[in-house]
Symmetry: C2
DNA sequence: TCAAAAAAAGATACCGGTGTCTATTTTAAT
DNA sequence: ATTAAAATAGACACCGGTATCTTTTTTTGA
């Protein structure tokens, strides 16, 4: 009989009864295993992982162990010790928005194959709990940075809350929304002004305008640019040529139908975004108009539809992808290509008109 | 021996030299603070957080403390202790793909405001490192589940790797790709067959077909359904009416131009997805054809373009959002509405034709 | 050559939770 | 009322890393 049969206190994991080094392949490895294998301490392995200065021979020894064992550090443990999760959160208002999806592409490309992860979190702007929902998410996740897309980005209280929680953030918009280091924007207003200048230069004088939803800064900026450009061109804004829209295809269709039913319809319609421009295109087609001969149409965004429409849409290119890249670079300067200066990052990316088929001179 | 109960441990963090209860608001709170406030142990607070059965009065006391202090548990610490991160990873091949973006909407809606987070990770299918890239990401993040979209989902080795790492996964496709509990799919083939049946019923006999890229199961399924339906209808597939495409607008345009330049062009063209259908629409417009009078066009996906085109596109609705919801429910049954049975979840969501303007009977 | 200074590696506490086992109550049974 | 059984709460180790401080090794200076 074996007298050592009884195991009184097997709480040490080294005393596991399953035999020596029984572990699942891959993920069960820890830094301790690597340290044992390399014959060094945990801390030394940690130094290698964090690229701290150390003796080359020791580093090589540890790196060889990591390579041999196929060790991958546990992100949660690092996050806990660092008190920072290697994650960037993208807060979006509407997961349907093409802008958000495009922006996300920019974010992903900037993240590349770094160890950063992207978390996407939709929140409802209408909710009275909005702020506390975001705060809870941030407190729970402790991300490296947070990005707020319009129209969330337009709330100042969100920025203040992030500062209180000590979370880096970037607000994205159509004009500067925060201090430079915390915002990324495009010059929607100037871009529209440039577009209208081109439209006027072609000879148009009756220019219809489809507004975006009131709550969006981009909508206000674009309308402001439009009006400003008209005045600069010596034209008087005609309020009957303005129609309301909600950045949706349907609202653009309705607006187009309204504008085209006027006794004196415009010779060109500027829609505040591409979806609405597509609606206007349809309204024109329904009326049997030939585009751009009978009606020119200009949009804003340069989203995927722009080239898929017939005729292809002249539209202001909104550099959403570039803004996404920029936002990540601002939040995590380490994502910058080697040698680039974080302090030299721009904050504004210019929008500008892309000429396609849907814009031509008016028939006289 | 133990008369001196006082523990003189000065290294306790309560001995911080910054004065009494000096801590940043919100995020610095820990479970210990709550326990002290409520006059219970850490473990008891943990029990409340995890909704374990306990005495109602104790629970109320702790909940009051949590509420009063505004405590939010640290996700990384939980993840470390649980050895599971409360995250779902969505692996996508191409962050440009409208399908991926739409699917993501479904995932987000299923996640809702639960404590799950969505992480999006693009990977390059062409890369020889693909498998190890995914493996490293999974080993690092230890997510609750992983979702693979086409064409990544079509690789069996990825599924095997996930099982090895003990990560739950779902493969999404146009036909079953794995065991039921691990895949979500739609019946693309049957849906195309149904669509073609409708097309034939209108009197069409010369039906053009624009293929998708070879590497995609969906492309093969859709073509197979198309051919099968022709045969069922007593028609012989005419190889000259098949054109290659790559699921892009440009490739659809080129395919449309080719098919419409045939000596005997088809009276209807079925494109394997909407982007290519949009290209065909343009090709038709360029040729001066009136749609659908001179040419009918049918797509597949029912993406955002479908309704924005002129004429609006008759297309097979691909239930991508529903598949996204389903995938999450399969990975984390807790996301199901109360009372629903996880075992009763379907795995297939049917696609079916949506009639819009672009399909009509041929002129005879 | 040997001690002092600098650099490298190690030991151990700690991040903020959960799991296990033990101590204490509460409830049930005699 | 007393005790056994069941339910509840607590103590403490542990998850897998990093930070701090100490020890050891290497380098430098006299």
């Amino acid at each position: 009989m074996d007298d050592t049969k009884r195991t009184p206190a097997p709480k040490d994991r080294n005393a596991a009864p399953l035999g020596p080094s029984v572990r699942k392949p891959g993920s069960a490895l820890t830094i301790t295993d690597v340290a044992d294998f390399a014959g060094v301490s945990k801390k030394t392995v940690s130094r290698v992982l964090n690229r701290e200065p150390m003796k080359a021979t020791t580093r090589a020894k540890v790196e060889a162990a990591i390579e041999t064992l196929g060790f991958v550090p546990n992100a949660q443990a690092r996050a806990l010790a660092f008190r920072k999760n290697f994650v960037i959160v993208l807060f979006i208002h509407d997961s349907t928005s093409p802008m958000a999806m495009t922006f996300q592409r920019g974010v992903l490309s900037a993240i590349g194959d770094s160890e950063l992860a992207l978390a996407v979190r939709p929140v409802n702007r209408e909710s009275p709990e909005l702020l506390s929902e975001i705060e809870t998410f941030l407190a729970r996740q402790k991300p490296m940075g947070a990005i707020f897309l319009p129209p969330l980005s337009e709330r100042d209280d969100i920025g203040e809350m992030c500062q209180r929680l000590n979370v880096k953030y970037v607000r994205v918009g159509s004009a500067q929304l925060d201090m430079m280091s915390r915002s990324v924007w495009s010059n929607d207003r100037e871009a529209v002004m440039g577009a209208v200048r081109d439209i006027v230069a072609l000879g148009h004088t009756r220019i219809g305008f489809v507004r975006g939803p009131k709550g969006f800064l981009s909508a206000r900026e674009r309308e402001a640019g439009f009006r400003q450009a008209l005045v600069s061109a010596g034209l008087t804004p005609d309020e009957t040529l303005f129609a309301d829209g909600r950045y949706t295809f349907d609202s653009g269709l309705a607006a187009g139908q309204a504008l085209l039913s006027l006794p004196q319809p415009p010779s060109v319609i500027f829609a505040s975004n591409d979806s609405m421009a597509a609606g206007v295109v349809r309204a024109a087609h329904e009326k049997g108009l030939r585009l751009p001969h009978d009606l020119s149409i200009v949009g804003f965004d340069d989203g995927p539809v722009a080239v898929q429409l017939w005729p292809s849409l002249t539209t202001v290119h909104w550099p959403v992808i570039e803004m996404g890249v920029l936002a990540v670079h601002k939040l995590v300067p380490e994502t910058l290509p080697a040698g680039e200066d974080p302090a030299a990052l721009p904050s504004m990316v210019a929008s500008s008109l892309i000429r396609r088929e849907s814009l031509d001179a008016p028939v006289r």
